[in-house]
């Protein structure tokens, strides 16, 4: 089984490590609650 989440265009800045692995066609093992990304609307205010 699989869950797919679709976000509106330009609404999320996905964590770079997840994107980098995916761009190598490599899945990343994750757990519930791990950070996925940040809303772009508040990106300028956020320093994580």
């Amino acid at each position: 089984s699989t869950v797919i989440c679709v976000f509106e265009k330009d609404s999320i800045l996905i964590d770079e490590d997840l994107l980098a692995n995916s761009a190598r066609s490599l899945e990343t093992l994750v757990s519930v609650g791990m950070k996925l990304g940040v809303a772009t609307r508040k990106q300028s205010e956020i320093d994580l």
Binding site: S1, T2, V3, I4, C5, V6, F7, E8, K9, S11, I12, I14, D15, D17, L18, L19, N21, S22, A23, R24, S25, L26, E27, T28, L29, V30, S31, V32, G33, M34, K35, L36, G37, V38, A39, R41, K42, I46, L48
Partner: protein
């Protein structure tokens, strides 16, 4: 026994060639030594004494240990009234059936089936003809029994024979006639067709030849450690013309020659059965039949009505979930094991997820080949659904709870029992355990106070893409994939077109509850019925299969202040097709809250 009442006449112009062909076909079953010598001479004259695979077939197999593939064709029947007819052939424990004919007195099926004939195995085929117009069930009208070994050794010039059909309640009453033909497949053709099938399965780019890496996968799947260790050497030996690839003929030659001196194939890549090292013909026969099973190449279908039947074929091995019933995955890994590489975000290391080689082979055969596509069109979708429903019933039974300790032991490195909310005794069925809850705090939520930070929705293997184009470039190869296709017509896709796409794939051992990745209000749920293909990367990476847009799924839309709308798509898969939600439309939810779970069922 059946009574041949008339004979068909061959076309005069084809008589010579068809006689020679029949003689060759009967080569392996004739019990008369002198006659066999004569046949051997005919065979030599027509084929020469060439090297390679044809040469190796001059070695005769004695009738005592005969094993061969008989091609039985149910051609047509003449009945005494009009109906829609189907015919069944049973041999030993196997039963196959034709399609249903038109409404007629003279049904025509032309249905073929390859059957294994062994000297000490069953060889009397029972053929039954059913009328199908009854609403409640099919009704047997006539039957006959035919000794196939006897039939094949008869000296006949005809391509088919006609047998009387008897009333099942009285064998004195003839209710019709049936025409059928039966021939033994030429062993050379058996070997070639086997090589062709093998090649098509590992020939991932479908260029009709094997690269070294494709060849390596094949050798690994044979389960022979010795061969796996010297695959470079074998590849060079096979690649006779030195072009860096192994063609179908080169592969057939390698298998024929190598299997004689040092067998390559120790176990069947489809069913995993250990094969006798000294009996080459039986090996090829076994593999040919096993690879044919359920491919849709044959006109007659087996139906897979029972567990036993299903487990014989590769139908049951179409997903990594298959071992919930057998627990055989991983136990015989050896050189047949394959793996999927995954990057563990927590340990920042690459880890290998082992998956049984024969399952990889079967899944590739089904999801990444044109043969598989035909299979899907010929009823495999329904079978996947039935298997899943049946598995659901089984996993909801009290007896299934007995499997929990075995399952935990099997995945002992990956299931942390100290995280599970209740002790094992609490779970009354396997499904109960499968949808186990975790203790509070077992999954810390990142930046819990910040709703502008999204989190992972499931314990899973994740792929993330900024947009559809990237997802198609790096991962989803199904030709029909689109955001519109994924979300369906009911949900306005324009909001999501070109949006980011996150895929969470759950494996059998994972915690199977999914959580909210964002905080907001649930706007709506939309059920989309569909198939239950596997969601394994092998299927997702196949251009022939569109698992995400064709599988059964439920789409929910969450309205958030920080991300706008987020579509959450829960997709069922083979075996695990049941999707349950713990929230309803209009609920306000916090990121990290439980949203629902997947469980066994259709």
């Amino acid at each position: 026994m059946g009574h041949a009442s008339s004979k068909g006449l061959p076309d005069a112009s084809e008589e010579d060639s068809s006689r020679l062909s029949r003689l060759k076909q009967k080569l392996h079953i004739n019990r008369n030594h002198h006659h066999r010598q004569r046949l051997r001479r005919i065979f030599r004259r027509s084929h020469g004494n060439s090297s390679g695979s044809s040469g190796s077939c001059l070695k005769l197999v004695s009738a005592e240990d005969f094993a061969g593939i008989a091609l039985l064709t149910l051609v047509s029947a003449e009945m005494k009234f009009k109906d829609k007819w189907l015919a069944c052939v049973s041999l030993g424990e196997q039963t196959y059936r034709t399609e249903i004919s038109d409404q007629t007195e003279k049904p025509v099926w032309n249905s073929e089936k390859k059957l294994l004939l062994e000297r000490n195995g069953p060889h009397v085929a029972r053929i039954s003809v059913f009328e199908t117009n009854r609403i409640s069930k099919n009704n047997i009208v006539g039957y006959c029994e035919i000794d196939l070994l006897e039939f094949l050794t008869q000296d006949s010039d005809s391509d088919f024979e006609v047998f009387e059909l008897f009333d099942p309640s009285s064998s004195d009453i003839v209710v019709g006639k049936i025409s059928l033909s039966c021939s033994v497949e030429d062993p050379i053709e058996t070997e070639k067709s086997f090589a062709r099938r093998l090649l098509s399965i590992v020939d991932y780019n479908q260029d009709g030849r094997l690269s070294f890496s494709e060849f390596s996968d094949l050798i690994k799947a044979f389960g022979n450690q010795v061969a796996a260790n010297k695959k470079e050497e074998l590849f060079k030996a096979a690649d006779k013309n030195g072009d860096g690839f192994v063609s179908m003929d080169e592969l057939a030659d390698l298998l024929a020659i190598q299997q004689e001196k040092e067998p390559l194939i120790n176990c069947c890549p489809v069913c995993g059965e250990i094969l006798g090292v000294s009996d080459r013909l039986n090996t090829v026969v076994h593999l040919s039949l096993c690879f044919d099973e359920g491919t849709g190449n044959e006109a007659m279908t087996g139906g897979f009505l029972t567990d036993k039947e299903a487990s014989y074929g590769w139908m049951f091995k179409l997903s990594e979930w298959a071992h919930f019933s057998s627990y055989d995955v991983g136990l015989n890994f050896g050189s047949s094991a394959s793996h999927i590489l995954v990057f563990d975000r927590k340990t920042k290391r690459l880890v290998e997820e082992l998956i049984d080689g024969k399952i990889v082979m079967s899944m590739r055969a089904l999801y990444q080949s044109k043969i598989g596509l035909c299979l899907m069109d010929s009823g495999a979708k329904e079978i996947l659904y039935k298997i899943s429903e049946k598995q659901g019933r089984k996993m909801n039974s009290a007896e299934s709870a007995e499997d929990i300790p075995k399952f935990v032991e099997f995945f002992k490195d990956q299931i942390k029992l100290d995280e599970v909310k209740y002790p094992l005794e609490h779970f009354k069925t396997f499904n109960d355990f499968f949808i186990r809850e975790l203790k509070p705090g077992a999954r810390p939520i990142a930046f819990i106070e910040r709703d502008d930070v999204a989190i992972c929705a499931a314990d899973s293997r994740l792929m993330a893409f900024k947009n559809l184009e990237d997802s198609l470039r790096f991962w989803i190869k199904g030709r029909k994939f689109s955001i519109q296709g994924l979300l369906g017509k009911e949900i306005c896709p324009s909001t999501f077109v070109d949006g980011a796409l996150i895929i969470f794939r759950l494996a059998p051992q994972d915690y199977h509850r999914f959580h909210f990745p964002v905080s907001g209000i649930i706007d709506q749920f939309v059920n989309v019925p569909g198939n239950l293909y596997t969601v394994n990367p092998i299927a997702v990476n196949s251009e022939y299969c569109n698992v995400f847009t064709e599988n059964k799924r439920v789409i929910s839309i969450i309205s958030t202040a920080e991300f706008g709308k987020v579509a959450f798509v829960a997709i069922g898969a083979t075996m695990v097709g049941s999707i349950t939600f713990l929230k309803k439309e209009g609920d306000y939810v916090n990121k990290g809250d439980e949203f629902g779970y997947f469980s066994f069922g259709g």
